[in-house]
Symmetry: C2
Subunit: 395 residues, 2 copies
Amino acid sequence: MNYSFAERTKNFKSSAVRDILSVIQQGNVISFAGGLPSEEHFPLEAVQSAYDKVFASGKSSLQYGLTEGYKPLREAIQTKMEQKGIRSTPDRILLTTGSQQTIDLFSRVMLSSGDVVLTEDPTYLSALQVFRSYGASVVAVSGDEYGMDPEELEEKLKTLQPKFVYIIPTFSNPNGKVWSVERRQTLLNLCYKYNVLVLEDDPYGDIQFHEGEEYPPVASFDQSHSHVLYTSTFSKSVVPALRTGWVTGPAEVLQMMTQAKQMADLHSSSIDQQALYYLMRDFDLNQHIQVLRKEYYKRMSIMRDYLHKLEPGLFTWKEPKGGMFIWVEGAKDLNTTLLLNKAVENGVAFVPGAPFYVDKPELNTFRLNFSHSTPENIELGMDRLVSVLLNPVTV
Amino acid sequence: MNYSFAERTKNFKSSAVRDILSVIQQGNVISFAGGLPSEEHFPLEAVQSAYDKVFASGKSSLQYGLTEGYKPLREAIQTKMEQKGIRSTPDRILLTTGSQQTIDLFSRVMLSSGDVVLTEDPTYLSALQVFRSYGASVVAVSGDEYGMDPEELEEKLKTLQPKFVYIIPTFSNPNGKVWSVERRQTLLNLCYKYNVLVLEDDPYGDIQFHEGEEYPPVASFDQSHSHVLYTSTFSKSVVPALRTGWVTGPAEVLQMMTQAKQMADLHSSSIDQQALYYLMRDFDLNQHIQVLRKEYYKRMSIMRDYLHKLEPGLFTWKEPKGGMFIWVEGAKDLNTTLLLNKAVENGVAFVPGAPFYVDKPELNTFRLNFSHSTPENIELGMDRLVSVLLNPVTV
């Protein structure tokens, strides 16, 4: 049979990263390609104990739940967000199947075909896919190490009248960038001025390497709770398998997203949500995050020290202040997609930067993940990678 | 701020049933309104033991999983479906966050604005909402107790060229109807003839009251695996909180749905999927389903016996052969939405039938759920209901 799919499927694309991951899951390749957290640090016993408490609470814990999600968990998240300066209420928190679902539900209620979304460039590629699957045009706003360029942003807000601006201002995927406080405030002020919403994606904000530095979420400046949708997840700071994220923001938008979620899946796993509630109540999550910060800093440092062995000038990169990635830019004529083949032959993998770009891919970039591999494997893999990089394939 | 939502949100509607449920969750109202399974029969110990096995398998059980879902569970589902005559492969099974997500993902890859979907009338109202949220026109095909009327179906397949036909052929929600084997085959043959897909929703098929009767899924006749998407769930036969359903069908359609799911939420909870795998491996699910069948039959019988007390002719209903619902039709001038107020005042609730209709609601119908209330509560609630029904409010 000849299947006649919906118009929107023409914008569907399988994730380039997932495709690469499936190729390199073979043999002895050490992969810096994915975006996985460290398995060794999953708090398995605490997670198991949390599930035990769910089951001890009786059979009603296994019944259908609310679309909005388990209320005690929403209350605990409210407290967690207050520590970041974001004021919310349980009624303005929607639990999702990870922040990916937040991006999807928000797009679903906001985007009609032909609408414009402004993003950083490069940015999270699965967000680009979602926006495009709803028929939106994604327009990149260029920037520097402090965030989007305010003049270009204002020009595009004014002329393109976008539906929203999507940003990952703290330890971005793919390039680890942190926006300055000033740029965060400027973005919000411009969005107030032009009445445009902000989707602030913050999966990595907890993984901060240096004490004392402050990276207040853009949402913390939105005192009227009118313009910023803030989303985060437990996937990076606790464990990914529970697939639990959340979003807070304007009540009217959240109500619409709740209706969309009711149609999408009624509600996410409520066993997992209940377990996360007990975990937040009884496990020292802040202490756990401290351990992750130290460990990820250590892993990043090993990777960084190997990168220092490269000829200066040929490769440029910035030491990240948190998150899970180092972003590397090679010489202008380097093609990292070709380089990947050679790297995999040498037993190491990364993700070429091209798929993270909105429309003009810079082929000489790549992303390295330092959270998933053990320190020993980072040494082994970086040793292999550096020898490949010292003899790069050029086009 | 004035939020400018996407065009499609004009078709959003909160579920009428959910709205009713929130009103009646007060006081001493015995509710036959929802579609919840019996909590007393949740296999809590077996579920807990299954989760223990997940955690015993180590930390990697908590890492990100595949979009398609945990493969050993897909293999176990393949075996379960073979017992129903449906042949599949793990590659042609996609795990979802309940069958609601199947309906959503399938609609997402198939429906463009203005497309037509054929359905029974009345049918599952949240499916109607999803189809309309993608801009589809839903067209009802009338039928009798054996299923859709073949002539009307053929006429509408020919003239309307629908994208698919949505059916719940076994113990339907809301009316408990079972299609005859002949009508199932006729539907599929007509869909072959006009090259139209079928979405077969089968959440209740396991809850069958009478041994020996055969209700083969439409998918079991689709030997070429080309035209039928079959979806079911563990929500009714195990527990709802795990939010795990599945879909099988044509490979090409499933690949497209997998891409849609990757954008929607990356994957569903893989802890829950792993737990379900151990549950299917080590727990006698068939025996458990036998217990549910007996218990639900008992509960239905109590409800039925009360309905027998009503004046014959004023109310008509059929004894269901399985599932969770009895569908009752009152005198032509009865308005069950008004009747509900009186019922709630008397401490009992049901769902008015109107929201389940495609476009011409029959206001004199209502749905009773017999799975969720204990036998004692069914007696108490039906006693109240019968006294209300004997003095119905007319308009």
